[in-house]
């Protein structure tokens, strides 16, 4: 085939530069998105919650023994709010640890445990506590689904620490231990003392 002698020559250099710039821009965007996705990955037991640092949502209900309960009446004490279900394996695992911690701090009077039933029936919960030595602390039962919603709970167990002034300062979705909770409380108490004394 013979080449056309007078055919217009496309501006190849200009076009290749445009393609290069466009490819670089697209590549930059893709790399940026990959970096963003890679850095925003959270660990499986992430305890991030929009509630942290904010006043605790209302926690009002009826206990297993039929008594009314309100979190606001516990102002001045640390409160550990634990959402649990008798069907949940990690809940069964942490139950003895929570019991020891609750008994110790009930005696001291500096903190209290509040269990909130999540996706379970009162009968099964009663059997659960009967098998784990009973509960001398409030266990909220009945219509607790709206409480779970208010606290942003999506599975069990989920545990929150509320400071004496009613602020949510810690959350975990992993089973807790007595030692971990004691250390947390010591840190929280020190922080609270620092805040109140202004140091």
């Amino acid at each position: 085939m013979t080449a056309r002698p007078d055919a217009p020559v496309p501006p190849r250099r200009h076009r290749s530069r445009v393609v290069l710039v466009a490819a670089a821009a697209v590549g930059l965007v893709v790399v940026g998105l990959i970096v963003l996705l890679a850095t925003s990955q959270k660990p499986e037991d992430s305890a991030d919650s929009p509630l942290l640092g904010h006043p605790a949502p209302a926690l009002v209900g009826t206990t297993l023994t039929g008594k009314p309960f309100s979190l606001s009446s516990y102002q001045g004490k640390f409160v550990l709010v634990n959402f649990f279900g008798s069907w949940c394996q990690p809940c069964q695992q942490e139950a003895p640890e929570l019991r020891k911690w609750a008994l110790e701090h009930n005696a001291k009077g500096d903190a209290t445990l509040v269990n909130v039933v999540f996706n379970d029936t009162p009968d099964k919960v009663k059997s659960f506590f009967a098998a784990h030595g009973g509960a001398s602390w409030p266990v909220l039962s009945g219509n607790t689904d709206s409480l779970a919603l208010d606290w942003g709970v999506s599975k069990a167990p989920e545990t929150f620490l509320v400071t004496p002034n009613g602020t949510v300062v810690w959350k975990t979705i992993a089973p807790v231990s007595q030692a971990e909770l004691d250390q947390l409380l010591a840190t929280g108490t020190a922080a609270a003392t620092t805040t109140t004394t202004g140091k």
Binding site: P50, N119, A148, L149
Partner: protein, 196 residues
């Protein structure tokens, strides 16, 4: 290279701007009016429908890939009741969605927010569309400027060469058929001189 002569006024190639751009403007006006009517004339929804509509934009906290509208998980049932309660209290869809985001984080929202980093989800497609449209328009305009490609002397030479090649019959071993040679040329075949 011979320049194409400008089309005289009134010929097929000359069109006034109104004739040329009128249909496009009309199309744009119809599109905007249709979108405006479609967006403004939403049918009135009752409380249940409004609840479902909002719940469809919120993720079921206990499920995987399911909205609060379709799930029967306890938190979804409680969530729908909470949405209905808040609607009755006069809260807007945005306020209700903000409540769920304040409890579970922004990841609970199935449709991204229109602010912050999430806004890119809504803005990027529009930018891509506008840039793509502008690019195509620029390309079409450029092609149009190059369009009336008049044949050059080189083109004519090439065509002449090609026609001469086809005029010369290839050598054949078979005897000539005088009857075929005497036939007049087909009227379907254009004369070489008629070609531009």
């Amino acid at each position: 290279m011979s320049e194409p002569t400008p089309a005289p006024r009134g010929s097929a190639r000359f069109r006034s701007p109104v004739v040329r751009w009128g249909p496009y403007v009309l199309l744009g006006v119809v599109l905007v009016v249709a979108l405006a009517i479609g967006a403004s004339r939403q049918p009135k929804k009752n409380l249940s429908e409004r609840t479902q509509a909002i719940a469809a934009t919120i993720k079921c906290p206990q499920c995987t890939d399911e909205s609060m509208a379709t799930s029967n998980a306890p938190t979804s049932v409680a969530g729908r009741a909470e949405i209905a309660r808040r609607l009755q209290a006069g809260q807007s869809s945005a306020e209700i969605r903000a409540f769920f985001a304040s409890r579970y984080g922004d990841s609970v929202l199935l449709t991204p927010k229109g602010s912050g980093f999430d806004a890119l989800i809504w803005i990027l497609p529009v930018i891509v569309l506008v840039v793509g449209f502008a690019g195509l328009t620029a390309a079409f305009v450029r092609w149009r400027r190059l369009a009336p490609a008049a044949p050059t002397a080189g083109d004519r030479e090439l065509v002449d060469e090609a026609r001469h090649r086809t005029d010369d019959p290839p050598p054949s071993d078979e005897p000539d058929e005088p009857e075929a040679d005497d036939e007049p040329p087909s009227s379907d075949e254009p004369d070489a001189e008629d070609q531009p």
